[in-house]
């Protein structure tokens, strides 16, 4: 079992947990992910690593409730434990490779985090800070109440910009518009990392392609085993089919077929919605929820 040492509610639907998993903490690097399973009946849920502490043997994860399994996960508290917690999975971020540090230092790097995407951006920015690399970070969110990790990010980013769609905090607009505004001010970037909802990454990539800024995205497709066995996470990148779990999760954003990836992400929407509804309704659930919009 993998004990939960800390739980924090970051917003209405976003939660943070610190989990004891020494083997994962010992070997992980920024950009990698884990798979967590609540109990015997739970799904295998892939989540990016938000932070790690090798000395304590802990991993910090951040997740948003989107389906039956994540709803159940949100009910757990410090003192509870996960049945399974495996990782690190996937390739580390290409910016966080010690051997390439000199090259990385020459780059003007901008990170754009959307929503829960702040979680996987944080360890990369932190690692770069620790290795003497300057970064600019934009965090975009729908509104102020779902922004999280502002203080933590401010401590590691050289410049931090906050953007909200509704203008309730920081720049009034989305992450793309904030980037455009910075470029208009004369700021120069030659490397972009965008992590967040697929639709957001798609639009960032459309913009950065226009601006001529190479862009890396972190994909989070549906997965089962996460070790390269099932092929559920396949994506079209350029002309090739790639498995996000072993080839990724990071890819060249200008080559990813986002429309296809978004269509694939909807694969189990109805099933997942039904499972969630069934769980919420308990004994009163009687099926027939195909068109009730219970899913996200």
């Amino acid at each position: 079992m993998y004990p939960i040492l800390k739980k924090e509610k970051l917003s209405d639907k976003i939660f943070l947990m610190v989990v004891k998993a020494p083997r994962v903490a010992d070997g992980c690097l920024p950009g990698q992910f884990i798979i967590v399973k609540i109990d015997e009946e739970g799904e295998r849920i892939p989540l990016t690593i938000c932070d790690y502490d090798r000395a304590e043997g802990t991993i910090t994860i951040v997740f948003q409730t989107v389906g039956a399994s994540t709803e159940r996960m949100a009910e757990l508290n410090a003192g509870d434990a996960f049945a399974d917690f495996v990782g690190p999975l996937g390739q580390p971020s290409e910016l966080c490779i010690e051997a390439d540090l000199e090259e990385t230092k020459k780059k003007n790097i901008v990170f754009i985090a959307g929503g829960v995407g702040t979680a996987p951006v944080y360890p990369q920015v932190k690692w770069l800070k620790e290795h003497g690399v300057k970064t600019t970070v934009i965090i975009g969110a729908r509104s102020k109440d779902i922004l999280f990790y502002e203080d933590e990010m401010r401590a590691v980013a050289d410049e931090l910009y906050l953007a909200t769609d509704d203008g309730s905090y920081g720049f009034h607009g989305n992450g793309c518009q904030q980037l455009q505004a910075l470029v208009d001010e004369g700021k120069k970037f030659d490397h972009c990392v965008a992590i967040g909802p697929m639709i957001m990454m798609k639009f960032v990539c459309l913009l950065t392609k226009e601006l001529g800024i190479p862009t890396v995205v972190s994909m989070n497709p549906i997965m089962v085993d996460g070790t390269g066995m099932c092929g559920a996470c396949r994506l079209v990148v350029g002309d090739e089919v790639k498995f996000a779990c072993v080839d990724g999760p990071e890819f060249d954003g200008h080559l990813v077929d986002f429309d296809q990836a978004m269509a694939r992400a909807k694969q189990y929407k109805t099933e997942e919605g039904r499972a969630l509804l069934k769980q919420q309704e308990g004994d009163t659930h009687h099926g027939g929820c195909g068109n009730c919009g219970g899913d996200k």
Partner: protein, 462 residues
């Protein structure tokens, strides 16, 4: 007097009934039936069957004990050679191994060696009999990567030789392909697989799950930091292959690995589990191997009309005859000498059909089988909502790419000698990671050979 030329028949669930449940198809012999079948064994002086068994079970000896009703003694004899008799009795291709060599089979039906092995293993389990480890610990630590058939066999044999063995498994349950790949109706997970893993544990083997070698820890780190003096890699087959035809990324196209893993390991078919699975109405399974049969029969049980599309004819189907026979009995439809050329996709990005082309058999190819050739202009559409690709796998590079000095061949499989020695000192390998996708018993044979080679390695070292 019963006819000695024919087998004692074995009871099976009725095809119509079993097509709607996940209970085991074959119900096994009773004690009386097992004794009667055992009495057909000629107890040959030079038993051909033993030579046909990749783990060399002393077959005539255990069958003689069954004949006498000494089932515990029969179990002890099997256990000397095999760690997983309840598994093998169910999934080995006996017809081309032990039973294929049986003298009875020349004029009549071969002795039902597999079914007798299964009977003995089941009897032992039901009577609480565990394999014994009488060895003295020698203090040497060996790591086994993967808890599938090759890993479990190597671990069991090494423990019996006195080694301190730890098995590392990437998934959350032990058994590898036995739990994620082979369906419940062929190989019950709780009753059979878990029990056999427990038997390996009873020999003193330690198990650690959720450890991905190459990520959580590397082989070099296991040897340098955790004190393992030798390693056996039984990491299995790897990444699923696809056809690279248009429409293949559509929703509703799955690899057989994904479909089976969702159902078997993640138990999507069971009430109360969170994992979703596509319960198709009409399913096309592409491929003709045992995995394709497993996927087809699983989709059938989840309520679909199922078509197996295979590019050669029935004679070339790589699946075991028994699996094909069972699939047909249950209602799986075989569309032979056909091959998909395109997956048809609707406006929502989901599968609406499959365009296939008819084939004919030409000259034999490198595999010795007649090569299928497309018949121009013969394309037609099969309406379906799910397509399951069962075309085999290619090796997972995770271990080879993270281990210093471990080499692979052109296909990406680990290079190993017949004894299982890899290109790296003290590291051995066997099973699908070396051969590419094959059978449970071949993997067990490789695990057994490598365990002996590892023992030899330590003896030469001292």
């Amino acid at each position: 007097m019963a006819d000695m030329m024919v087998r004692v028949p074995i009871s099976e669930q009725d095809p119509k009934v079993r097509a709607t449940n996940f209970e085991e198809v074959c119900l096994g012999y009773t004690e009386e039936e097992a004794v009667a079948e055992a009495s057909r064994c000629l107890n040959c002086k030079k038993p051909m069957c033993v030579g046909g068994c990749p783990v060399s079970i002393n077959i005539p000896a255990f069958i003689q004990e069954v004949k006498e009703g000494n089932f515990e003694k029969a179990y002890e004899i099997i256990s000397e050679s095999s760690a997983l008799p309840a598994v093998c009795g169910r999934v080995c291709p006996q017809e081309s191994q032990c039973e294929g060599k049986c003298i009875r089979g020349i004029k009549g039906e071969a002795v039902a060696i597999g079914k007798l092995e299964r009977f003995v293993a089941d009897w032992a389990r039901e009577n609480g009999i565990k394999p014994k480890n009488t060895s003295t610990p020698n203090g040497h630590k060996v790591a086994v990567i993967g808890s599938g058939p090759s890993g479990l066999t190597a671990a069991g044999d090494l423990a019996k030789a006195g080694y301190d063995v730890t098995v590392f498994e990437a998934l959350h349950e032990m058994g590898g392909v036995l739990v994620y790949g082979i369906p419940e109706f062929r190989l019950p997970k709780e009753k059979v697989v878990k029990a056999e893993v427990e038997n390996v544990k009873a020999l003193g083997v330690k198990f650690e799950k959720n450890v991905i070698i190459g990520r959580s820890i590397t082989i070099d780190e296991l040897m340098e930091k955790e004190g393992f003096e030798a390693v056996f890699i039984g990491s299995g087959a790897g990444l699923p292959m696809f056809m690279h035809i248009p429409g293949e990324q559509a929703n509703g196209v799955f690899s057989a690995n994904e479909y089976l893993t969702r159902n078997n390991l993640m138990k999507a078919f069971k009430e109360g589990y969170d994992t979703p699975i596509a319960r198709g109405k009409k399913v096309v399974v592409v491929g003709g191997g045992n995995v394709a049969m497993d996927a087809a029969r699983t989709a059938l049980r989840l309520g679909a009309e199922v078509h197996v599309v295979y590019r050669r004819s029935e004679a070339e189907l790589p699946a075991r005859a028994e699996e094909v026979h069972h699939a047909k009995e249950e209602g799986v439809i075989f569309d032979l000498l056909q091959n998909p050329v395109e997956i048809l996709v609707n406006e929502e990005g989901s599968v609406r059909g499959c365009k296939v082309i008819k084939m004919e058999l030409g000259e034999p190819d490198a595999s010795g089988r007649r090569r299928p050739v497309e018949i121009p202009g013969s394309e037609y559409e099969i309406e379906c909502d799910t397509v399951i690709m069962s075309l085999g796998t290619s090796p997972n590079p995770l271990i080879s790419s993270t281990t210093v000095g471990l080499e692979t061949n052109k296909k990406g499989c680990l290079i190993a000698t017949e004894q299982g020695a890899t290109t790296k000192d003290a590291v051995y390998a066997g099973g699908d990671a070396v051969t590419g996708a094959a059978t449970v018993i071949l993997a067990m044979g490789a695990g057994k050979t490598a365990a002996a080679a590892i023992d030899e390695y330590f003896k030469n070292k001292n």
